[in-house]
């Protein structure tokens, strides 16, 4: 009996050793929330699709989303912006190839950019581009009609695709992509997984992790279990499963800042929110720290500005609203509100209803009462964008250049992302200047003015920036994730 036990133990340790040594050559299994609907390099819309495409394709350059570092070369070796800010010239590297072995040429680059611009899905990111042309065998020039400061970030978004492959077989172009990135497409099982393998011919050298399997696991609890059993080695997780994963020594957690923001939006076209004092009162009345504890398990950065603190243009001098119910009451009194005041309903989508409950409580404490009106998400978006609401709470992402914040503040975007329906000539003009300004310091100053103005007028009552949480196998080595957490498996490796 004893003998069998020892043998069993020996066998166990042997298998463990075997699996440990086999680890170095193992594929990375990444769990994702949803299947990719498409692998089309321009007509995609979800984060999962972008994550997969990021491994398959390279773009001209890589720009970190904080906008604070020099762009890193990828398909383009270098770039140059003309004095007047109208011409962007890229030098294309000679050693890059597609996964079928054909070289990446300037024609492919021009084609990729044109395909991107024509896409309803992504084209708006480079809508200011007027034309693109190949000047010689290694130079591509993009022309603009008016200077547009965030253009460099935009033009570095298109994935570089093979023109020949697209023309040869437009269906396979989508279903069996031939990319230009560090990983090659192997196969895909609709609804369950997608397999990639390292591109041995990659111009930056083959990736250390030999392959990636993306597994579709929609349920947060199941994903947490799969991480613990080792079936999955990397996943973005929900804060609800954080405690059990944190307790597991085989799992590492990374908290990554994002520019997405959770905020209370008030309809400025409706009483009483046309009065700035009422809006300021709302911003003072919300106990942000408590809300973040209750709804995000503490995993969000408190911030009463729409601009995330790591983002270009944010400064520590910016005025922040802090929890002060007495001040809120005083402001409401000053505005002539007789308390308790009935606001009617707080419109909310089902997934944000817990946020609404906390906000309802906080506002009730200062004398603003309301009922919660939960709507199905699409119905909610309909009422939100048409302005058929008084107050709401939601989360939004306006990532990319800080210029993107114009969607929340300028007149042109009333009916889409300007939920407050705020319209102010001075604000429109400030964003316009920031768009044209090519001098970084001056742009930063302009964004500073914009953000202070937004705080003074309490256009929105932002609560904070939720963190993205990644959980992964402790033997996986990953670099520091940039803002937004867009990752490239090329940068990962297994610990020796």
């Amino acid at each position: 009996m004893k003998k069998t036990l020892t043998m069993l133990a020996a066998a166990c340790s042997l298998t463990m050793m075997l699996s440990a040594s086999a680890f170095a050559a193992e594929n990375l299994v990444i769990a994702v929330d949803a299947d990719v609907d498409t692998l089309h390099p321009t007509d995609f819309s979800t984060t999962v699709e972008m994550t997969v495409l990021n491994q398959l394709y390279d773009s001209l350059m890589y720009i970190n989303p904080e906008g604070t570092e020099e762009p890193e070369p990828r398909i383009a070796e270098s770039y140059e912006i003309s004095e007047d800010g109208l011409d962007y010239t890229f030098k294309i590297r000679k050693d890059a190839t597609f996964h079928d072995g054909t070289p990446v040429t300037v024609d492919d680059v021009v084609f990729s950019i044109e395909l991107y611009k024509a896409s309803e899905y992504q084209g708006s990111q480079i809508s200011m581009l007027s034309s693109v042309e190949a000047v010689d065998e290694s130079t591509v020039v993009c022309h603009l009609d008016t200077p547009y400061a965030p253009f460099l970030q935009g033009i570095c978004s298109p994935y570089i695709v093979s023109k020949d492959y697209y023309e040869e077989d437009p269906d396979a172009f989508v279903t069996a992509p031939i990319g230009s990135g560090a990983y090659k497409f192997v196969n895909r099982t609709t609804g369950s997984n997608l397999v990639l393998e390292a591109n041995e011919e990659y111009y930056r050298g083959a990736a250390e992790i030999p392959g990636i399997t993306f597994e579709v696991i929609p349920d947060a609890a199941t994903k947490a279990i799969a991480l613990q059993t080792g079936e999955v080695s990397f996943a973005e997780i929900d804060s609800s499963v954080l405690p059990q994963l944190e307790a597991n020594p085989a799992i590492t957690i990374a908290e990554v800042s994002t520019s997405s923001f959770t905020y209370v939006s008030m309809n400025l076209e409706k009483e009483p929110f046309n009065d700035v004092r009422v809006r300021q009162a709302v911003s003072y009345a919300i106990n942000r720290e408590n809300l973040i504890q209750v709804c995000f398990e503490g995993k969000a950065e408190e911030n009463s500005s729409i601009c995330a603190k790591h983002r270009f243009g944010y400064s520590d001098d910016l005025m922040q609203y802090t929890y002060d119910p007495e001040k809120a009451k005083a402001l409401l009194e000053e505005a002539g509100i007789t308390m308790p005041y009935n606001l009617g309903k707080i419109l909310v989508a089902e997934k944000y209803s817990n946020l609404a409950q906390v906000v309802q409580n906080d506002l009730k404490a200062v004398g603003l009462e309301m009922e919660i009106d939960v709507k199905e998400f699409n119905a909610y978006i309909g009422e939100l964008t048409s302005g058929d609401y008084v107050i709401t709470v939601l989360n939004m992402t306006l990532e990319g250049d800080t210029q993107q914040l114009e969607m929340a503040f300028t007149t042109d975007y009333i009916g889409t992302a300007n939920n407050a329906r705020y319209s102010d000539e001075e604000m429109d003009e400030l964003f316009n200047q920031a768009k044209m300004e090519t001098d970084t310091e001056k742009r930063e100053e302009l964004f500073g003015q914009i953000l202070s103005k937004a705080q003074e007028e309490a256009i929105y009552a932002p609560i904070g920036n939720p963190l993205t949480l990644y959980a992964y196998n402790a033997s996986l080595q990953s670099p520091e994730f940039p803002l937004e957490g867009n990752y490239f498996v090329y940068d990962f490796s297994w610990q020796a």
Binding site: E120, Y121, S124, T189, G191, I217, D219, T222, A379, I381
Partner: protein
């Protein structure tokens, strides 16, 4: 043992001719049966049209359009409009509806999904085998457990076994499916490490989802079999069978069970049809790509062709399953078989 008389083998028989019979009678039976089947198949056409219209109308009445759902809140109105136009979603309701029907009838084309931009049949065929496997496995497991324990429970009424069965059934019947699934996952995948926690790659992956679905439905079947069995054994003809000296086993298996199973088969058929739509909870918990999750995602994205394609596909299957169940009755209950002969007009 008494010599066999016509009708004795078929308790409650209204037409002894079906329990045996000449070559001519067999032919006649086949004729009536096939006439009945053809008639039922023709009935499916208005049913499918009705389903198509209802689902299409409901989808059109719900708020949101595919363009803005796909492109999101920050998209430009002109991009949204362009995308909707590409999908043909800018057309009025009836134009879209009849175009859709026309495509199905004249081109056998269920349409192209708005979100994947691939034929919807690709997705349906990729996922349906998983759903079918899960449905068949769960039905087998749940009927084996449910019916056998139900019979046992009824035969040994008020015994300890009966009480245990009834209580356990009550517990499983009232247990939320997702919770049961999660508990099974924690036990068998996380703690014991015996079974995979997600996916549908091998039969091993189906064990936990099958258990989740069948444990809850077996509970219902058990209760139904037990009740139906108890009612049947109180019938006159059972007393007659016992009086003529038939053994207990023979009375139960030969006389009582066939009659007692009729309502059970009805609920099994309905349940199987419904589970073809996907056991959404099991599919979600165990990350198994099936029809249920396909449809819920499509509804949320307002992917009209996908929702319509999947609904019609299931409606056809469901109708066929119900037809099979109805035919199955005939083998269980000759009274119903007599109905076919009268073209469904006679009373059983």
């Amino acid at each position: 043992m008494l010599p066999k008389r016509p009708g004795q083998e078929c308790p409650g028989n209204a037409s002894g001719a079906f329990c045996g019979g000449s070559y001519h009678q067999v032919l006649e039976r086949i004729y009536f049966m096939s006439k009945y089947i053809v008639k039922r198949l023709l009935y499916m056409i208005p049913v499918l049209l009705g389903v198509a219209f209802l689902v299409f109308a409901i989808l059109s009445l719900t708020p949101g359009d595919p363009g803005s759902i796909i492109l999101g809140i920050t998209a430009k109105p002109e991009d949204i409009a362009a995308l909707n136009a590409e999908f043909g979603y800018d057309q009025p309701f009836f134009v879209r509806f009849f175009n859709y029907l026309g495509d199905i009838v004249f081109h056998f084309n269920l349409g192209t999904s708005y979100s994947t931009r691939q034929p919807v049949m690709n997705d349906i065929l990729a996922r349906f085998p998983n759903t079918l496997t899960l449905a068949v496995l769960s039905m087998c497991v749940s009927s084996i457990i449910g019916i056998s324990l139900g019979i046992l429970s009824a035969v040994k009424q008020y015994s300890v076994l009966d009480h245990v069965c009834v209580v356990v059934a009550l517990v499983f019947a009232s247990m939320p499916g997702f919770w049961l699934g999660l508990m099974l996952l924690i036990l068998f995948s996380l703690k014991l490490g015996w079974l995979p926690s997600f996916g549908a790659a091998s039969l091993k992956h189906f064990i936990l989802p099958t258990l989740t679905v069948s444990l809850t439905s077996a509970a219902g079947l058990l209760r139904m079999t037990r009740a139906s069995m108890l009612e049947t054994v109180r019938q006159e003809y059972i007393r007659t069978a016992k009086a003529k000296g038939a053994s207990n086993r023979r009375v139960i298996w030969k006389h009582a069970l066939k009659n007692a199973l009729i309502p059970v088969v009805t609920s099994l058929g309905g349940g199987f049809g419904a589970s073809l739509g996907g056991a959404i909870i099991a599919e979600t918990v165990f990350a198994m790509p099936g029809m249920g999750t396909l449809m819920t995602t499509a509804i949320r994205q307002k992917d009209v062709p996908m929702v319509m394609g999947a609904t019609l596909f299931l409606a056809v299957l469901f109708s066929l399953v119900i037809l099979v169940v109805d035919i199955l009755y005939a083998f269980l209950d000759p009274r119903i078989k007599a109905k076919y002969q009268n073209g469904g007009k006679g009373r059983g």
